[in-house]
C-alpha cells in the first residue's frame, strides 16, 4: 500500500440532514450513525439546531453524545456558532455581549469535545480578536467562515485577515465554505424557480449570465426591465449571492485554514457535484497540505422538497464517494 499524499479527512455537518431532522424522521443519533456508515468520521454540529434547550447542554446529553461517537466510530470535530447581534428588538448586542456570546459557544464546543468553532460570517473582526485569548485558553480554534458572496479580496475578509496576521493568534483562522466556488448556476435552484412560475426566458438570462461569469450586478434591474416578478427577482438575487473564484486563492492562506465546509447542492447519480468543481478544489487542498476535514454541507433539500422526496443521506453518500475517489482512497475492490 502506498503512503497517502495527504492528511485530509472526511466529515459531515449534521446540517446536511436538516430536512429529516426537522421532520423528525431522523434523530441526532441517526444522523451520527449514517455519517459513520458513509465513512464520514468527523462530525460537525449546529448546537442550536439539534440540542433542545440550547445554550444549556446537559450532562445527560454529553454522555449520550460521547456514547454515540464511540458506538459509530466518529469524532466530534466542529460546532457552528451564530452571533445573534439582533437578539433584542430595540438594540444590538454590545461588543462585550458579542464576545461573551462567542465565549459561551466556545464552552459548548468544549462540552461536546470539538476543537473547532465555526464563526459565522457576520462576526466582527474586533469580536474575533477579543474572543481569541479565551478560545486559545480552551484549546479551541475560532474559524471565520468564508461564505459567498465574500472572498479573500473582499474588504470584510481583509479586515479579518488583518486581525489574524497581526495578532498571530493560533486560535484564529478560516473555514472556507465551498459555496464560494459555484462555477455554474445550481440546476436545482433554477428548476425550482421554473416550478414556482419564473419566466423561462428570464431564468435562461440569469443562468447564462452566471455561467458565463458575466456581470451579475445589474441583473435585478434587467429582470425588472424585462417584466420579471418576485420569483424572477429571487433568482436574480441568488445569482449575485453565489460566486465563482479560483480555488487556488486558498493556497496563500492555507496555514489559517483548519476546516472546510463542503457545501453542495446536487450530487448527480454519477457522483459529481453539478455546480461546484470538487475535482479542481481537492487537488488545491492537497497541494496546500490541508490536514483537516472536508465536511459535507448539503443544502439542496430546500430546492427540491416541493416536487421530490428529499434523500439527504443518499446525497451525502454520493459526495463521500466522490471525496474518496478524489482523495485516492482505496476502493472496495482493492481495499
Amino acid at each position: 500500500m502506498t503512503t497517502p499524499a495527504h492528511q485530509i479527512k472526511r466529515g459531515v455537518s449534521l446540517y446536511s440532514f436538516q430536512e429529516e431532522y426537522f421532520l423528525r424522521t431522523m434523530s441526532v443519533e441517526d444522523c451520527i450513525r449514517v455519517a459513520g456508515e458513509i465513512g464520514a468520521r468527523g462530525i460537525e454540529i449546529i448546537p442550536e439546531q439539534m440540542i433542545p434547550g440550547f445554550p444549556q447542554v446537559t450532562d445527560e446529553f454529553v454522555e449520550q453524545w460521547s456514547a454515540w461517537m464511540e458506538r459509530y466510530g466518529t469524532t466530534p470535530v466542529a460546532t457552528d456558532l451564530f452571533l445573534d447581534t439582533k437578539l433584542h428588538p430595540d438594540r444590538w448586542l454590545t461588543r462585550e455581549e458579542q464576545v461573551a456570546s462567542v465565549c459561551r459557544d466556545v464552552d459548548v464546543a468544549v462540552r461536546l469535545g470539538a476543537t473547532i468553532v465555526r464563526a459565522i460570517i457576520n462576526t466582527p473582526p474586533e469580536v474575533m480578536e477579543e474572543a481569541a485569548p479565551y478560545a486559545e485558553e480552551k484549546g479551541v480554534r475560532l474559524l471565520l467562515e468564508v461564505h459567498a458572496p465574500f472572498h479573500y479580496g473582499h474588504p470584510w475578509i481583509l479586515e479579518h485577515l488583518e486581525v489574524m496576521y497581526r495578532t498571530g493568534s493560533p486560535a484564529l483562522g478560516l473555514m472556507p465554505d465551498m459555496g464560494t466556488y459555484v462555477e455554474r448556476f445550481p440546476r436545482v435552484v433554477s428548476e425550482r424557480a421554473l416550478r414556482d412560475g419564473a419566466k423561462p426566458e428570464l431564468v435562461d438570462l440569469i443562468t447564462r449570465t452566471y455561467d458565463d461569469h458575466g456581470d451579475t450586478h445589474a441583473l435585478m434591474d434587467v429582470v425588472n426591465y424585462r417584466g420579471g416578478g418576485p420569483v424572477d427577482f429571487g433568482l436574480a438575487r441568488q445569482a449575485t449571492h453565489y460566486i465563482w473564484s479560483d480555488p487556488k486563492a486558498m493556497l496563500e492562506h492555507m496555514p489559517l485554514i483548519g476546516h472546510i465546509q463542503a457545501k453542495f447542492y446536487e450530487m448527480t447519480p454519477d457522483e459529481v457535484e453539478y455546480s461546484i468543481p470538487y475535482d479542481r478544489i481537492v487537488p488545491v487542498l492537497v497541494e496546500g497540505g490541508f490536514d483537516g476535514h472536508l465536511s459535507s454541507e448539503y443544502e439542496g433539500n430546500r430546492h427540491v422538497q416541493d416536487a421530490f422526496p428529499v434523500d439527504s443521506v443518499e446525497q451525502v453518500r454520493r459526495q463521500h464517494a466522490m471525496f474518496a475517489r478524489l482523495l485516492g482512497e482505496p476502493t472496495g475492490e482493492d481495499a
Partner: protein
C-alpha cells in the same frame, strides 16, 4: 426554507377551555432554534380574515406567551422543527369541517439584512372536540 411545513396538518382543533376559537400547530421555517425575542410575528389568517395578534397566544414546550411578551423573552426558544401551539380566539365558534389556515412567520436573523421567515397556507379539517 421550510415554508411548506409551517402549518401542521395534524393538531388543528377547537379551544376546549370554554372560549370560542381554536388551536393550530405551527413550525418555524428555519434551520435552527431561535430565542423567542427574535420571533417578530406569527400572523394567522383564518378563512381569509386576519386574526389580530392580541387574540392569539403562542405555546412552546408547555410555556404560553402573549405576542407582546415575546420581544423580551430571551431565555426560551422555539426549537427547530418544534410544533408550537398557536391558540386564537374568534367571535363565533369554529364550524366543523374545512378551514383555510394561512400563517406568516417573521424572524429577525442577525446575519440577514432583511427579515427572514416564510409563509404557508393549508386547508385543514377541524378535528372533533374532545369533551
Amino acid at each position: 426554507m421550510f415554508d411548506r411545513y409551517i402549518v401542521c396538518e395534524e393538531g388543528f382543533r377547537a379551544l376546549d377551555d370554554g372560549r370560542t376559537g381554536g388551536v393550530v400547530e405551527v413550525r418555524m421555517p428555519y434551520y435552527r432554534g431561535l430565542a423567542l425575542s427574535m420571533v417578530e410575528a406569527v400572523d394567522l389568517v383564518l378563512d381569509g380574515r386576519p386574526v389580530p395578534a392580541g387574540r392569539t397566544t403562542f405555546t412552546v414546550h408547555g410555556n404560553t406567551y402573549r405576542f407582546d411578551q415575546l420581544p423580551r423573552t430571551t431565555d426560551d426558544r422555539w426549537e427547530m422543527g418544534e410544533r408550537a401551539q398557536l391558540a386564537f380566539e374568534t367571535d363565533e365558534p369554529l364550524a366543523p369541517g374545512e378551514h383555510e389556515v394561512a400563517v406568516a412567520v417573521r424572524l429577525r436573523i442577525s446575519y440577514m439584512p432583511v427579515p427572514g421567515g416564510g409563509r404557508d397556507a393549508k386547508r385543514l379539517t377541524l378535528a372533533a372536540q374532545e369533551i
